[in-house]
C-alpha cells in the first residue's frame, strides 16, 4: 500500500501518525517507511534554508515509526523477555495517550479558529475620545524620562533571539536504505559474521544508524542473513547465511519497509 506523505498536510509529529492511523484501512505495519524518509529527504533538499521546526517534526515522526516498525519486524520467539514485553505495552499506552491528547487539542484548535473567524466578522469601535475632551486626558508621558525612552528604544530594536536548534542531527542523510543493502550484500559474505556495533562503528548520525539497521532487517527479511542477540541491549550479531550468495539479494530500488 502506498501512502503519500506530504509535509504540508500535518502539523506536529503526532499529527501524521494520527492521520495515517485514522485513515481506516492503514495498518501502521503497512505504512511505507521509505515513503516517509524519502519525503523527508526531498523536503530537506527543497528547503534551501531549513525550516528547522518542520524538519525536526519530520524527523521525530520518522523516528517513532521506525521504532514501532522495527519492533514488529523483529522476530518474537518464546524466549522473549517479560519485562521487555511489558515495557513495550506501557510505551504503546503512553503513545496512545499522547495521540489522544494531540487529537483533543487539534480539535480544540479547529474550534478556536472557528470562534476567531466568527469574532473577526465584527470590528471594534476605536475612534477614541473626541478632541474636545483631549485636554482632560492625563499626560501619558508623566514620569517617563529620556533615559526610559532610550531603554524602550533599545528593547524594541534589539535583535530578536535567534531560534537555535542543534542541526547536527538533521544533517541530510548521505546513504539510502537501498545503498546500505547493496553495500552489506557486497561486504557481508566476505566477513561472515559481524556485530551490528562493529558494522556501524564510526557512525554517529542516528538516522544513518537507523538506515543501516533497516538494511540489515531487509536482508533478514530476504533470508540471507541471520540475526542473533544474546541478551537485551547486548550486541546484535549479523551473520551471512552459509550458502546464500550476494546475487540472491534483491537490491531494493526503493525500500518499502
Amino acid at each position: 500500500m502506498s501512502v503519500t506523505v506530504s509535509t504540508t498536510v500535518y502539523e506536529g509529529p503526532f499529527d501524521l501518525l494520527l492521520n495515517l492511523i485514522l485513515r481506516e484501512e492503514v495498518e501502521l505495519y503497512e505504512v511505507s517507511l521509505s515513503t516517509i524518509v524519502d519525503a523527508y529527504l526531498a523536503e530537506l533538499e527543497r528547503l534551501e534554508v531549513c525550516d528547522l521546526e518542520k524538519t525536526t517534526e519530520f524527523l521525530l515522526i520518522a523516528a517513532i515509526l521506525v521504532e514501532l516498525k522495527t519492533r514488529r519486524l523483529l522476530p518474537v520467539d518464546d524466549r522473549f523477555d517479560v519485562d521487555d514485553e511489558f515495557g513495550l505495552w506501557e510505551e504503546r499506552d503512553l503513545l496512545l495517550a499522547r495521540l489522544l491528547e494531540c487529537k483533543t487539542f487539534r480539535d480544540a484548535a479547529v474550534s478556536l479558529r472557528r470562534m476567531a473567524a466568527e469574532a473577526a466578522r465584527s470590528s471594534p469601535r476605536r475612534a477614541g475620545i473626541e478632541d474636545r475632551f483631549l485636554h482632560l486626558a492625563p499626560d501619558l508621558l508623566a514620569g517617563v524620562s529620556p533615559v526610559d525612552l532610550r531603554a524602550a528604544c533599545i528593547r524594541a530594536l534589539t535583535p530578536r533571539p535567534v531560534f537555535h536548534v542543534d542541526t547536527e542531527h538533521i544533517a541530510p542523510i548521505r546513504i539510502s536504505v537501498a545503498d546500505a543493502v547493496g553495500e552489506l550484500a557486497a561486504e557481508l559474505p566476505r566477513r561472515g559474521s559481524v556485530t551490528f556495533r562493529r558494522l556501524t562503528a564510526g557512525i554517529t548520525d542516528r538516522i544513518e544508524m537507523v538506515v543501516w539497521f533497516l538494511a540489515v532487517l531487509e536482508l533478514y527479511k530476504q533470508g540471507v542473513v541471520e540475526i542473533d542477540q544474546a541478551a537485551s541491549f547486548g550486541d546484535i550479531h549479523v551473520s551471512w547465511r552459509p550458502g546464500a550468495g550476494a546475487g540472491d539479494v534483491d537490491l531494493v530500488d526503493a525500500y518499502e519497509g
Binding site: L18, I21, R98, T104, A109, S111, S123
Partner: protein, 208 residues
Amino acid sequence: MDPEVAGGPDDGVRRAIEAILMVAVDPVEPNLLAQLLEMPTRRVEAVCDGLADWYEAEGRGFALVRVGGGYRFQSHPDQASWVERFVLEGQHSRLTAAALETLAIVAYKQPISRAQVSAIRGVDVDTVIRTLAQRGYIEEVSRDPGPGNALMFGTTREFLVRMGIDRLADLPSLGDFVPGPEVVEALERGLLAGPDVVDAEVPVDDRS
C-alpha cells in the same frame, strides 16, 4: 415600547453608557461603569444587556457586545462585507494550524510552561510561543515555583477579544473535544496490533 428606548427609569444610565462606550477604545469593564455612574454593577450589566438586545431587535448595523471582560460597540457581524470594503488595511493575519494548536494548549492548560506545551505537541515550540506572545495572545503570567523556575504562560485579554468571548470560562469545554470511542478504538487498532499480527506477515520459515 421597550423601556430602554426612552423615558424609562434607567434612561439616564442608558444614555451615559452609550456615550462612554462610543469614546472608549477598549472594552469597558462593568465595574468601571458602575463606579463612574455610582450604581451597583448588576444594574449596569442589566442596562447594557438590555441595550444589546434592543440594538439587535431593532436591526441596527452595529452591536453592543460583552467581550474580554467588558462592553464595547462593534460592527454587526452580518455587515462584515461592507466593513471589509471600508477597512482597506489588512485584517489580522491568520494563525497557522501549529500556532492555533499551541494556543489551544495554553488556553486550556494555563498556566503552562514552554516545556510542558512542547511535551504535548511533541515538538519544539519556542518560535510559535514567541509569535503568539508577540501577537499579544499569550503572555508570561508567573514562574513555576518548582525547580528551574520555568516561565509559565497564559492567555491575554486580547485573546479573549479575538475569540469574541468574555472570559475563559466561555471557551467550549475541553471535554467536548476528547475523541470518541471509535477514534480511540481506531488508534488502538493502529498502534496496538500485537506480535501475533506481525508474526503472520514475517517470513518465519526463513529464520532457519
